[in-house]
């Protein structure tokens, strides 16, 4: 394997692994704000206790997120030096803004959130929780802006030629609000809320099924259910907006998402299928005629550009994008169904008697995680062969000073270390879940011995 494929595997692997954690943090943080807000309002220690338990889970996901996040920032330079030179002028201000506005906010107030219960008053503590939540979302803002610029570059001009070519910013706000950033950001953020909220639903449902911490679990589930209902419906809307944006700005990606080979009106929307890109057809497919054209233009006569309108070397891999996209959409609808069912039974007052639904809740934590991952695969693989859409090919973005042997070395180590990290994470998460929240009356404020 050459440096290009190794570097791509390494980046894909490290970003996919990293992307398990920040969505959890962002999603849990917003629920922490709600829970602690309820504590401030009701003064009921029960809510403080509930917040404290989820803070521990939050701290765990946050720690892994930071450790794997530093890797991402280094990797642009280590493996994609030519790309870094090309985009530095544009991409850099977003990253710098992320550092200054988001990371400091997040990590600073995290200290108060986790360790400051006895050090500051309840209002100051709540303020810190709010700041951590905002900080975590700000970081999503800037990194998604930077990534969206790679999808739909705007507010720049290219100077220099060949090896010395680079993008220079001409309009900062046009760069920030490039054509895809608002749609993609809202889609990513509500994906994060789903990831965090379904973790809370899953753990709480497990407690109810095991008949433990009942009041805590019921209350947590209700808060999280409200969040997932809003987020899953919002996801349908932002997903639709994103797809319409893709059809305008990245037609090759849309064509791959729906396996459209020839330009056509009245284009069909597949429910599922298996793409044979060599013979340009979809096997075992079931499709709704005209639906794709209708969805992107509210008119079945809307023309969809097919892959054959692009040079062969400018087409993304079709089947991966197609499968990832369709599975994501299917999960999106499943999440809406799960959350509406939950709300319905809650409204009828019989939610906690529905054992089957509680079991679905327990496993539901995996769904937003899978959807987040394959959503990114759709976005990033669909952008290929470009690293910056229409401007720079992925194969041209590599580091010239790095050899295959070095990437083998780092890739293998990443795989081993991340595997260990993942096992540890699951182990410790399970520990916390088995230990459960403290009872309100038995929390010692200070202990001098090692905690169990």
């Amino acid at each position: 394997m050459d440096v290009e494929i190794l570097s791509r595997i390494q980046f894909a692997f490290t970003i996919a692994f990293h992307y398990i954690y920040p969505p959890l943090s962002i999603g849990i943080a917003i629920i922490l704000v709600i829970m602690e807000g309820m504590y401030l309002k009701t003064k009921d220690k029960f809510y403080e206790n509930m917040t404290k338990f989820w803070v521990k889970v939050f701290a765990l996901t946050f720690a892994v997120g930071v450790a794997t996040g530093i890797v991402m920032e280094f990797e642009f330079g280590t493996n994609w030096a030519t790309y870094s030179r090309f985009v530095g002028d544009v991409f850099g201000s977003a990253l710098a803004a992320e550092g200054i506005f988001a990371f400091f906010l997040e990590s600073g107030f995290l200290a108060v959130l986790v360790f400051g219960w006895d050090k500051v008053g309840p209002k100051m503590h709540f303020f810190s929780t709010l700041m951590v939540s905002l900080g975590s979302m700000f970081s999503a803002v800037w990194i998604v802006v930077a990534n969206s610029w790679q999808q739909t570059p705007a507010g720049f001009h290219v100077i220099g030629e060949g090896i010395n070519a680079r993008a220079e910013i001409t309009d900062f706000w046009a760069m920030v609000f490039n054509p895809s950033s608002v749609n993609r950001l809202s889609h990513v953020i509500s994906g994060c809320w789903l990831a965090g909220a379904f973790l809370i639903i899953s753990v709480s449902a497990y407690y109810i099924l095991k008949d433990r911490h009942i009041r805590f679990a019921k209350s947590s589930i209700k808060i999280a259910l409200v969040v997932v209902m809003i987020a899953s419906l919002f996801q349908l809307f932002t997903g639709h907006r994103s797809a319409v944006g893709v059809s305008k700005n990245q037609p090759a990606k849309l064509a791959a998402m729906e396996a459209v080979f020839d330009d056509q009106t009245n284009a069909q929307l597949y429910l599922f299928g298996w793409v044979d890109s060599e013979n340009q057809k979809v096997n075992f497919g079931v499709a709704v005629p005209g639906m794709l054209s209708y969805l992107i233009g509210f008119d079945t006569n809307t023309k969809v550009t097919g892959l054959n309108s692009f040079k062969e070397e400018d087409r993304p891999p079709v089947n991966i994008v197609f499968q990832a996209y369709h599975l994501m959409v299917a999960i999106g609808f499943a999440l809406i169904a799960i959350s509406l069912l939950g709300i319905f039974f809650w409204w009828r007052g019989i939610l906690f008697k529905q054992k089957w639904l509680l079991w679905i809740f327990v496993f539901s934590v995996l769904l937003p995680q899978i959807a987040n991952q394959i959503g990114w695969i759709t976005a990033e693989v669909g952008r290929q062969p470009w690293i910056v859409y229409g401007l720079l090919k992925t194969s041209e973005g590599l580091s010239k000073a790095v050899e295959a042997g070095q990437v083998w070395f780092s890739l293998i180590l990443f795989m081993l270390i991340y595997l260990g990290l993942f096992i540890l994470f699951i182990y410790l998460l399970n520990e916390k879940i088995q230990h459960g929240p403290e009872d309100v009356d038995s929390i010692p404020s200070e202990i001098g011995h090692p905690k169990a």
Binding site: A63, V64, V66, A67, G69, I70, E73, F74, F76, G77, T78, A81, S84, V87, G88, D89, F91, G92, L95, A96, E98, G99, I100, F101, F103, F104, L105, S107, G108, F109, A111, V112, V114, F115, G116, W117, K119, R166, E168, I169, T170, F172, S399, K400, A401, V402, Q406, S410, I417, L421, L424, L428, E438, P444, E446, I447, G448, H449, P450, K451
Partner: protein, 342 residues
């Protein structure tokens, strides 16, 4: 010296400020880590760990932001250094991960072997990170081979030579001293007495390394003092640096730990400022041909970007300073273990 107060120069020094911030802040928690195994019993080790508990990841953010600012302001430097120093930086990353994981997981289980394993990981990783950071900085003093396309053309082993190793060891010594002083500030009783004696040991270790490094620099890399010849006023920095170092044992013996810590911060700041003035206006010296060096002009982003970033920094930095100081204020005083501790 040619010194024009333009955006490129401002950003050279702002990145310097971020790295000084990183060295001062992560410096003490790396130092605490480096000394960790010397503390024997579990409660004391937990106190050491919890002295940096609330702040260590915030401290690492300075490195992340420094890296981001470098990427933004001087993309060519970021690209050349990060791809050229690939293997060294990957090791640095692995160590940062190990360290974060060790801090987080160490106290989660009561078993002795479990805690010992993470203690070793934490301490070894802390020492390694300090060492590698020193090696990277030293390579900017010695220069590295570059081609006409700003690409690094050396190998991993060309980064390692007696001088760069010496600077690496000096960095470890410096952070150990800094960490020991921080420890004295945050602990009490017997542990504090122990740490106080370590300040004296580590500072001697540091001073020996420091003198050796200074002599080696003067003899082998005289370009580092060009500006000091032209602008003797800069020599004040060197004097300040020495005064700050000399003040540390004095404050420690007077039981003024906080002032000792400030002195130690000042000496780190002065030392890195000397380094910054030494390499200015180059970022990466080309050892094969000085003409090919990456300096603040030929590797910078456009004036527009530098300007936007300056606005971002001017809006953001007051907030960052305000809450960094508030957080250190909230967590002032001696470490107490609670049920939320590591």
């Amino acid at each position: 010296m040619d010194f024009t107060f333009d955006l490129n120069t401002i950003w050279f020094f702002l990145i310097g400020v971020l790295l000084i911030g990183y060295a001062i802040l992560d410096g003490f928690d790396l130092g605490v880590g480096a000394l960790h195994l010397l503390v024997k019993n579990d409660v004391d080790r937990r106190i050491m760990l919890n002295s940096i508990g609330p702040v260590w990841d915030g401290n690492e953010v300075w490195l992340v932001t420094g890296g981001g600012a470098l990427f933004a302001a001087f993309p060519d430097v970021y690209a050349t250094v990060f791809s050229g120093f690939y293997s060294a930086l990957m090791m640095l990353l692995f160590m940062l991960i190990f360290r974060a994981v060790a801090i987080e997981f160490r106290s989660k289980r009561p078993m002795k072997w479990w805690r010992q394993m993470w203690d070793v990981a934490f301490s070894v990783a802390s020492i390694f990170i300090a060492f590698l950071a020193g090696v990277v900085v030293a390579n900017l003093v010695t220069g590295v081979p570059l081609d006409a396309n700003k690409e690094f053309i050396g190998t991993f082993w060309s980064l390692v030579n007696p001088y760069t190793v010496l600077v690496g060891v000096t960095t470890v010594a410096l952070f150990m001293t800094h960490g020991a002083i921080y420890g004295v500030m945050k602990t009490e009783g017997e542990l504090q007495i122990k740490l106080r004696s370590w300040v004296n040991n580590t500072i001697i270790f540091f001073i020996i390394c420091y003198i050796t490094t200074t002599m080696a620099t003067l003899i082998y890399y005289p370009h580092m003092i060009e500006h000091f010849k032209e602008t003797p006023a800069l020599f004040v920095l060197a004097v300040l640096n020495m005064l700050a170092i000399a003040n540390i044992p004095r404050e420690i013996s007077r039981r003024k730990e906080f002032f000792a810590f400030l002195s130690s911060c000042a000496s780190i700041a002065a030392l890195l400022s000397l380094f910054a003035f030494g390499i200015f206006p180059n970022f990466v010296l080309a050892s094969n041909n000085p003409e090919l060096s990456l300096n603040i002009y030929n590797s910078a982003s456009s004036q527009k970007t530098l300007n936007i970033m300056l606005i971002i920094a001017m809006i953001g930095v007051p907030f960052v300073l305000a809450y960094t100081i508030s957080i250190y204020w909230i967590f002032r005083g001696k470490v107490k273990l609670t049920n939320m501790s590591y």
